[in-house]
Symmetry: C3
Subunit: 457 residues, 3 copies
Amino acid sequence: MRRASKIWLGLSLVGLLGFTVTAVAYANDPTGASTLAQNPQIPLNYVWILVCAFLVMFMQPGFAMLEAGFCRAKNATNLMAKNLMDFALGSLMFFLIGYAIMMGGSWYGLWGTKGWLMLGDYYDVDKYLNMFWMLVFCATAATIVSGAVAERLKFKAYLIYTLIVSAIIYPIYGHWVWGGGWLSQLPFGLGHLDFAGSGVVHAIGGFVGLAGAMVLGPRFGKYIKGKPQGIPGHSMTLAALGVFILWFGWFGFNAGSTCDAHHLRISVIAVNTNLAAAAGTLSALLIAYWKTKKWDVGMALNGAVVGLVAITAPCAWVEGWVAILIGLIAGALMYAGVRFFEAKGIDDPVGAVSVHGLGGLWGLLSLGLFADGTYGNYSLEEPFVRGLFYGGGWGQLIAQLIGIAVVFVWAFGTGYLIFKIMDKIFGIRVPPEEELEGLDISEHGTPAYPDFIQINR
Amino acid sequence: MRRASKIWLGLSLVGLLGFTVTAVAYANDPTGASTLAQNPQIPLNYVWILVCAFLVMFMQPGFAMLEAGFCRAKNATNLMAKNLMDFALGSLMFFLIGYAIMMGGSWYGLWGTKGWLMLGDYYDVDKYLNMFWMLVFCATAATIVSGAVAERLKFKAYLIYTLIVSAIIYPIYGHWVWGGGWLSQLPFGLGHLDFAGSGVVHAIGGFVGLAGAMVLGPRFGKYIKGKPQGIPGHSMTLAALGVFILWFGWFGFNAGSTCDAHHLRISVIAVNTNLAAAAGTLSALLIAYWKTKKWDVGMALNGAVVGLVAITAPCAWVEGWVAILIGLIAGALMYAGVRFFEAKGIDDPVGAVSVHGLGGLWGLLSLGLFADGTYGNYSLEEPFVRGLFYGGGWGQLIAQLIGIAVVFVWAFGTGYLIFKIMDKIFGIRVPPEEELEGLDISEHGTPAYPDFIQINR
Amino acid sequence: MRRASKIWLGLSLVGLLGFTVTAVAYANDPTGASTLAQNPQIPLNYVWILVCAFLVMFMQPGFAMLEAGFCRAKNATNLMAKNLMDFALGSLMFFLIGYAIMMGGSWYGLWGTKGWLMLGDYYDVDKYLNMFWMLVFCATAATIVSGAVAERLKFKAYLIYTLIVSAIIYPIYGHWVWGGGWLSQLPFGLGHLDFAGSGVVHAIGGFVGLAGAMVLGPRFGKYIKGKPQGIPGHSMTLAALGVFILWFGWFGFNAGSTCDAHHLRISVIAVNTNLAAAAGTLSALLIAYWKTKKWDVGMALNGAVVGLVAITAPCAWVEGWVAILIGLIAGALMYAGVRFFEAKGIDDPVGAVSVHGLGGLWGLLSLGLFADGTYGNYSLEEPFVRGLFYGGGWGQLIAQLIGIAVVFVWAFGTGYLIFKIMDKIFGIRVPPEEELEGLDISEHGTPAYPDFIQINR
């Protein structure tokens, strides 16, 4: 037994060292046998990463139900089509091109250049695992935009935009932060950090969406004599189902981002994720009640999502009560954002810009303030991540502020360019009569609910 | 190779011993490195518990869809709001207060006193994991009540009740059974046992709901000249979706409750969970057909849930055919319960009292009858749990009967007190005109389905 | 440290050997302690298999939502009932009878004969695990049929048919392929192979469904003067939700089918699953657009499913770009199949025959063409599976062609027999007036959506 104890201890030490090498690539092992032989601990990581990736993929119907629920019945088929096709096209593009750009080495910190079509050396269990993980995040970024441009964007334009986000916009920015690119190498703090993608996924999606909403202009009937009108969605049950699904999938999104199940920190991440969502829900509900004297479920649902968005960057580096604080502030910020963009004449049918854009930036910032020095850079070892309020000085905060500026400029800039160019070439907005009739008929020939007598609003 | 074999054997033995210590707290390890070093096997448990906890969290939309589906369209927004807010508020309250009361040591077996806000020593990967696990169960208990009080309870009253259930009612009873409290120390059998919470979660939720339904009184139109009327729900597809989600999530609920993935007994638990649900579905369907000559899907759906509720307490201690028997009886009991409460003038719109209350008590009882002595007290080691029919004598059965009495008195008593006090202070029922119009408009200002022409029943 | 390294290496080697024995049955260990002692690595497999099994079970609401969404509102309750009861009945029958026939030894390669009711030696953690895994697949096969016979089959006939599929049709064919039966012993290639059930599950379900649709005849209004009419479904959001759920669950279906988490090949399987689904979606969408100039979401949704069906057999044996190819072809095949059966007067309301039947056969065939020799027969060791285009010669392809013929004959033959016999005895189709009114009222007494004013189509 004593001997076994020593073995036990030995294993622990080796294990601890081992974690730093789990990310090492085992070139070209499609069978997986030699990867396993080199690291017998790795199967647990595969199980963890795959299950979490499945959960992230499941966020797709979460977005689909949320967006459809918040929009009108006459566009529900269209929203199903968009959410389905961005995942389908995104999956193909990211496999063929995106992954190479994001993770295939680094050309001066700008983008990768290897792994096209995952051929040759890239037909490897580890590479496929990593590609799959990055892919489900890519698809999330793409799908966020569909909410901001809902009820008026041509389907063709949506398909083209999806190709570009999946193949270029997301992979390049992702490279900068997660692929060894220049933002991760900033000489401030530990470089720009974004644990699970408040910036890489959500701010990217949110600000591309902002560009789309601005190029498109508001829906018919959104402004009457300049005053914004509420256009309630057609199904509060679907919207709520969508948010619950997102909340569920987000546990995979955040906790899976350790990419190592031996980081027991995953329990803290799960708790923080849950607390921020809960706090965002509560603050949005209370602020809306204070302003309108109604228990506004739509706001509470968006409050949950913005809490999740905000905690995504800092989830691994803060403790529970801070997660609550981050969520409370996120809910308030989202509420203010929705009112702000609405007042500025920008029509974002589901609030995607405020939820994912503003929430994403706040998440990136909060990390620079509250990271408490109990967890490293995806590592159990020093240096640990520390924000301003926890003795980390200004370094990490500066790195975060730089990232905030870059993600906004990149997402909004490329997004604006793409939507504007497409608009010049073929016009991205459906004709007025199609918008009034709803996109389901004109674009898809299939009303979503032919058995029910409806009011065309 | 021979040496490796010895190591192999050594590991096995150490492993077997190791399981008894996995539950030991490693004080204050927010990073998780020393917890890991002390027990290199533990990451698998983290993965198992977290994934199962995510599944339990996902039961929230299950309840939301089931309850909304079984109620009228005019209250669907309200049900979304309730199911969302009980999870949000419950998450915050349980983190801040509930966990300390439930698991923070034990003051004379009555309640815990440490761990408020999870600060200091409680900022620890193991503590956070355990808190998260207990939290998702707490939220389930809270959400069950919303069905019994549906379509007439003020939203404000719902928020207050949720705070109290999450911070006090569930944590204190949970402490008695799972936190080392007095019920777990009863000098009969192995103390009162409840593997995954037929009592701690479901009977608590069910009988607090009974108290709520009694204080509220029946909905308008439920009784005409004293005769109960059927009030069909507004969406059978949502109701069925909800039950399927619950069935799915319940695998996490029950199998995850080993809190140790090295207990291979999890396979038996999963099978038993599935069989009891299937048997409950079948018996409810057949009884309803026998009585009404219709294949009553609503009854079958509730049959699935009551089968799940009933197997929750005994799932780890019985074999498959017994799980079928438990499910068959549960379905019949639920059918009789629904008719009984309806006849007694107690209006429970979704049958929550019969499903969770009666089903929960039957689950606690069945364990005292059928536990077959093949699995211990969350342990692979003796003493194994044995019921009356498997040579265990009367001890375990007596412990179960005591628990049954206590859970009923505690849940119904505290529930009645809270609803009655609130009713005295501000009146917990919405005004008649709001009830007739539906709570969606008056409480939330948002009809659930504004695009569809509806019948106001 | 050096010593620990040796241990490390030793463990790896033992581990590699160990994988070949993980499938060995440990007779009668209901507690799980000795199974664990003999193989301390096995808990990870339990976690993997159980989580994947939960995901497969969750495909049930996927099918339920897809089928209901593609059918009319007047039959939605009926479809919920069918999808619920086939899982409930199937679970009971497979536990009581099916598993013994499928996996209880082999009587001349035809069927098993041990393990009835999982009693005695079969009360064992490993046996229960295996039974549960096979059961969720069985339930999938059963539920597929409900789509093809939707909107006109009597509920009683559905219950009887479910009993027979779960107890006999699926278990016997499953035995032939996965239970050591004669198809797996064919002297061509490595015997007939079907990694996760393109044939065992999907072709079985699809062609039993074809038999059912043929015996029943088309729905009223499907053909007017011999010309097929589109009968759009009542909810595109539910249909899309269903497909997303299926896509999600399918990761468990395919990747879990290694039944060993130490096969890191699970990452390749997950990627292939996703790519084929994406490619199927895309090809179906584009073909439909080419033919109709509409972005047909219904076709795209079925394209996703047929991509998933087709990749199910070859998912472990091909690389990513081949998965895309398989999916693209599957989508085209499905489109052609839907048109073909429609033109032949066979009314399959949801396209189940083309999706699951044709897609399943194509999956079986593709494996014989494209298997690339990087993974064995559920094994990391040689012999690896090789198809015609990868130097495998004709052997594997012949084995696949034999399986294709057998699965079609078996499924269509037994299915036709059962539906025909039932039809002779009591008539399996509901009376015309009930079909026109919808089955929800006549069979169940419960309209699915009583709050909404509907059009009876």
